[in-house]
Amino acid sequence: MELIGLANYAIFMGILIGIYALLSLALNIQWGFTGLFNAGVAGFFAIGAYTSAILTSTPALNRMGGFEWPILLGWAAAMLVAAMIAWPIGKICLRFRSDYLAIATIGVAEIFRLIIKSEDWLTGGSRGITGIPRPFGDLPYVQSQLAYLALVVIAVLVVYLLVERQLKAPWGRMMRAIRDNEAAAAAMGKQVEARRLQAFIFGSAIMGLAGALFVHFNRSITPEAIDPMIATFLIWIMLILGGSGNNRGAILGAAVIWIIWSVSELLTDRLPTEVAIQAKYIRIFIIGLMLQLVLRFRPEGILPEERKRNPVGPG
């Protein structure tokens, strides 16, 4: 009995970790390998989520759609639309240096969020979208969860392999050269701009996919899901903690943070309610503290980037 419960919980965690791992991998392409400080992850996550939601959901009275497209088409569209929106944003914003890019992308994501909250005809406004189909959603609980986990794991695996392959290709070597060496980057001029834009678009498309996977899992989406805290900054913490520049680190970071977040509550729930409520606030403190500890003792993250030319380890 209890073991099945544990397994169910583990499956659920696996699904959410997988979705966060996708976001973390996508951010790794942008930050870890290209040095683009995108602090608007939530924006692209939202675009993917809402695109797929509008296209695949059942028709609704007071907003556009739903068009009842097949789910896979919805996912593809989520990536495509996220990429298409990332293109002009990248075109405009990538000229800014690190911190400015961060603040500009936060701004863009916040504008998206306000539009999503306010334009009822498109997104259902603050009420969001429901009636979104879930693949294998008709199976019994456990099987359905397992099937979804399998889908998410496949998505993570495909993205992981794709990114790894790209990195070993000349494309990836060049990206790293651009990131690490201003002079080399300057020498390559126009081409660099194009590469950086590619990385930005590629990463954003994967964020869109993560958004799509998220809405189909919940069969619904509301604007609360794209709060910058849980859809941007949390992912940054995951990536930095796991090890930016290392794809396995990105995935591990997502897992570690989510597990700490989730499991810590299980333990604090055993406490009396008043204390338990306080403990929920303290959870936020713990995440902050974790980040500090990693930055202090392992600033490259748990799994640092593998650099062939610099064998000097931490400490």
Partner: protein, 290 residues
Amino acid sequence: MAIIDFINFYIVPGLLLGSIYAVGAIGITMVFGILRFAHFAHGDMATMGAFIALAVVGLFGVTPWTALPIAMVLTAILAVGIDRTFYDYLRKRPAILTVMASLGVALMLRSLVQVIWGVDPQTYQRGIVRPDTYFGILLRPRELYTFLSVIVIVVALTIFLRASKWGKAMRAMSDNPDLARLSGVDNRMVTLLLWTIVGALCAASGFMLAINTELTPMMGWFLLLPMFAAAILGGVGRVEGAVLGGLIVGMVEELSVLVMPGQYKAATAFVILLLILLVRPRGLLNGKVL
């Protein structure tokens, strides 16, 4: 609409909001200028400062405005402590790590506020205050004090930065850090001064927001992005630019409701920000480009 109404209900609130943004933006622009990183804990540090003032009011029974200087000192000490504990050792590493550290600090501060003071909205003084009229302009004492405090803070800070040895050293550090070091300016001292000032300014901005509205654990976080917009708008590293930027952002936010639906009010700061980055990334007063 009568001119006087326009002044009372759009211009004055805009200036008030802008003053609060300005005080916060000065701190952000100074950290940007001297330490070269975006300080994400700024808003939550302001929250902390506001709640420290609340604690001072509660413990000693003094008026809020008397509590303000005490809160400024305490928050300054806190800010220096945070720098020593969480930022200082990252100084030689890429700036992103310090940015992340400041995000972590933001979370920790917010959580502390929630644990210590709870999550209910609170005020320094209960009840409401109806305004006095000055030549047709409606002002409450607290608004008057807010404006005065902002002026005092800006003037004092300007004098410090323009006329004192260490003020000049701070400007030098912001202007050209390598050369400042070559001139023998002690980095640690400048950093210490910086966080003292930033902490005090955070407390002031949080306090002023709170006395004009309420204290809530999230108040500072909501303030963060408009303050960043103000700092960049004015020109990074420029104190007078931050003031100007703050006033403009505050004013535009309040005036935006004349032409846009209210729910997009929050977007105006970002739109200004994006426009300025596109058209004039150095900001109005020719700040640094990071």
